[in-house]
Subunit: 287 residues, 4 copies
């Protein structure tokens, strides 16, 4: 048999450190709060997220807001990258986890990932006291599109309902919404450039989360920076969209859909591409 | 140009069918319910899950139960397979989605996957009218451990708090808990065999979900079979544990943990294994 | 600091057992063979696979055959599930590993997974001495399509080149190809039923791998059963197709393709599906 | 019915563009080369990689080098992040793809990902004509460790065998190894600082790949930049290590290992961490 691991070692280090959940006692605790307290006090999903992600209880206007974000981002139809990959995997007959995961892996800079970036840039601009036009123009100079601004379909006269619902909630319940109001002034400026440069749902959640963190006075400045830096808000989108992706998996299995094969006619097989033109959302290729 | 595709085609097939979420109109709808209704009516996360997974609104005692399951399964410490893999991936410096996914992929037959199996076997046994001892003995003959029964640490005199909380809730709010009561009679029988053969949290959720589906009278028998067959309850665990896995990812990043390397001393390098003995949760190997 | 883990424990178990690669010495060894030997002896990729998967050196006609399988299965165009999901993920701007993985997760029962099943069924039938027609008819009775038989496009008069190439190689270099010849007699029988029920590439690799294992006389009967049971051949397909999936990832990045969104017109949004008809590879839905 | 789609459309856009593999004809082609040519000409795995990744046939000293890299990186024992996660997932009873994928997801900046970075920095420094000491010192000023330099165990007097094997091969077969020689002069400089700051296997492969690309005169300067930029070399490591990860999956299944649970004693459960000390590869925590 294998001999003793570390005989006589008096003070050994551990290999893993963990601070969010303790499963050793009578009942598991989330950031020190026991399971039974969570149930008995009538906590909700938003509270559990607060405990496990932020390691503290947040006031109910915050946890309610977190739950709203999850509900509003839970799904956005079968056409987006995430749902599409999940559908394809489900139709390949794979198990639920594989289907979910195949879709989740598309979440990133171009799909769902703009919330954190919106928070980062709005925070930096607001904290520095940049005027909206100075901010937008400096971004333009850097060649970066303002994350959280712009929508393919929505526009000045056809606002995104989800944005309106979140703004209304926050204006009513948050002690302060200055980051969001700043984002709105940015939107006003970009709208003067083009009608579709509205504050989108990513920008709205991103800026409002800054307000949440700043206004509840439970976080130090350093902690807020860390949260924005690590990218917690992406976690919100990822968790929310998991509901939809799991739903799409079930949906395809219920519908007994066969293996998906992309139609040959929709693929341009080529050896070399000379020029690529995007026009009205479609892709034209010159060979 | 692109319009060509649909012109003139009278009844063309589509390549994808989807029934849970429509994103084409003014605002996305979940199973026909528009976003704004969801917010205005004060729906919660459990309601959104009902709409996207079950394609109908469930009564609030059901959606509350769904939320309780999510809260209770959200995390179970850093030592279980899922959290462990997530921690290792986070310490390898990978992005949130990769960390989450690496952990999710361990969920299956041995970790977290017993809920569906518990539901399947309890349903079959109860519906057939098998007595608890006939059920348990028939499983034994088939060489299958009753899923949902047994715990490494918990026992008759040291019950799992989560099980008690769920049972209490269901007994108070469910119109009927006959599947769960059946599971309890099974537990009584297995407890007569060994003190640790308690109804565990998987068995409790599995049986109570059967009660939820059967007692709300919104599902046909065929739909219930399909739900149990496809394995919706696994989805519940997967979604719940995602909260914890995301939490562990953030935790490791906050703690700035370095790359994990499993200690050499804890590995038995061998060319051939003659015998493997498990004893008290540890593994002994004869070479 | 954390106190000593297991003071005074004389004979402790290890938590992990591993038998394929030892990285503790001067240089890593694969199944006991040091790195430098591998290079100096001019080993190839097939030899390394033999060492790490089968824990022994196989004769060169075997390792060459393994390499041929990898080359022939390396890619099969952008339309199949795996490549498609990888392409979608790459176009979402994700890193290489995420793209590869998103595609790999579609490999399973319906895509790429038939090799192991073909091996399983052909082995069982041949070892039992079932005649081809008895085998095919018994499968029909069980309601299972013979895995490894049938192709959407190829047929009696339009054979799959890959199958011919593998058969030719094996007939020339293998000491015995009795499993493959058995598969061919099965094909003769199914071809009498329909012209497209040819031995496909999965069936060909599956049966030939049985020949490889049986004819090299380096495996006990029990080891062969274990290999077929665990599903090693799936590993061959997974590894091979990784080359293609990585290639597709690079391809999309080179082409700077934008975020993929499945076209709305190609989706049937519906609340309920009454009937589903598959015809000529397309899907028709009656609402 | 379905024909409607393409009729009458003069120049329609496609939604997907692909350039590496055409599966529409008699037999699939890789970058224009048909399957049968690949087999008949006795191509190897390295040739297929050349075709699918680089879209051209490379001379045999290049494809042989690619195969050597794959063989040398195929595995590095069960303790590293990738193998560890794969082992944990395999022991959770999951399918091969899930096990492989769970391990692959740890590959990135800290594990396996240094090859591309090494290539990037060595290329930049060499092309700019920076002297080794100027390069190392400028990196130090930027606070970046030179990727490809340094090893936990290996040192001046205990070289990494894999590095020596690759260098020997390249010096014999490559027309020019100037990037690698540059890396060696950098190593000489860093070795004067500390004995363990050797050129490691990542640095060796990274610099030699630059030599491969530059010396075979089949790539334009722009193409080389693109390859280094996109990160092809990471693909090499990912593909290679897949062999090992699949091997570890099989190994655990063969050994019938039970569910892994990380030992409680090896985890520091804490609410807050004051200070973290790494010493001799172990982690000490002050609470
Ligand atoms: C939505 C979006 C694609 C719309 O793009 P579009 O209408 O096709 O716009 P175009 O690319 O044609 O750009 C039109 C002009 O608007 C500008 N513009 C577009 N998006 C901008 C933004 N977010 N911030 C500032 N300017 C923007 C462009 O620079 C361009 O200006 P120019 O004419 O002076 O060069 C684009 O706004 C965007 O990428 N926004 C950020 C997206 C985001 O937050 N996404 C979250 C996804 S989950
Ligand atoms: C938890 C568990 C591992 C405890 O096992 P254990 O205490 O080590 O039990 P042992 O394996 O030593 O078995 C002791 C006896 O109890 C029996 N037993 C153990 N679990 C049983 C079960 N679930 N149903 C019926 N009998 C069971 C064994 O068959 C054995 O009987 P025997 O002595 O007549 O052969 C085991 O009960 C189990 O696997 N339960 C199901 C697990 C489940 O639901 N898991 C969810 C995980 S997320
Ligand atoms: C390729 C395939 C889809 C072709 O199917 P198809 O031409 O549409 O055939 P149909 O489903 O219309 O079936 C036509 C008849 O052939 C039979 N048939 C189809 N595939 C069969 C098989 N593999 N074995 C035996 N009979 C088969 C059907 O049962 C049916 O018989 P019936 O008319 O008596 O009911 C089918 O053969 C198949 O699934 N083969 C196995 C696939 C496999 O190995 N795939 C690997 C993919 S990586
Ligand atoms: C391998 C490694 C961890 C060894 O680190 P270590 O021996 O613990 O070294 P330390 O962190 O104690 O550093 C000792 C000194 O060497 C320097 N150093 C370490 N690695 C260096 C590198 N790669 N380049 C330049 N200087 C380096 C440190 O800056 C430090 O200098 P200082 O004393 O002047 O501050 C480290 O060299 C490294 O990270 N190398 C890059 C790793 C790489 O290519 N990895 C591939 C992994 S797949």
């Amino acid at each position: 048999l294998n001999v003793a691991i570390k005989n006589g070692r008096v003070r050994a280090p551990t290999h893993i450190v963990s601070t969010i959940c303790d499963d050793r006692g009578e009942e598991p605790t989330y950031a020190g709060v026991p399971m039974s307290t969570i149930i008995e006090k009538g906590y909700g999903v938003g509270d559990v997220i607060s405990l496990l992600w932020f390691k503290r209880s947040l006031p109910s206007y915050c946890t309610k807001f977190i739950e709203m974000c999850i509900m509003l981002c839970a799904d956005h139809g079968p056409c987006v990258s995430g749902a599409h990959n999940t559908i394809v995997t489900s139709r390949a007959g794979k198990d639920l986890v594989s289907c979910l995961v195949s879709g989740l892996l598309t979440i990133g800079p171009r799909f769902g990932g703009a919330i954190d970036d919106a928070a980062r840039y709005f925070k930096e601009a607001y904290d520095k006291g940049l005027s909206p036009d100075a901010f937008v123009e400096s971004m333009k100079k850097r060649g970066i599109r303002v994350p959280g601004i712009g929508h393919r379909i929505k526009s000045r006269d056809n606002r995104d309902k989800r944005v309106e619902l979140l703004q209304k909630y926050a204006r009513t319940h948050f002690p302060s919404v200055r980051y969001m109001e700043y984002a709105v002034t940015v939107e006003n400026y970009t709208l003067s450039k083009a009608a579709n440069l509205v504050l989108n749902v990513d920008g709205c959640i991103g800026s409002l989360f800054l307000d949440l963190l700043a206004s509840c006075s439970l976080f130090t400045q350093q902690e807020i920076d860390e949260i924005v830096d690590i990218g917690y808000l992406n976690g919100l989108f990822v968790l929310a969209r998991s509901i939809g992706l799991i739903g799409h998996t079930f949906d395809q299995k219920r519908l007994k859909q066969p293996l998906y094969r992309h139609p040959w006619e929709d693929v341009l097989y080529t050896k070399a591409v000379k020029m690529r033109i995007e026009y009205a959302g479609d892709l034209y290729i010159l060979k």
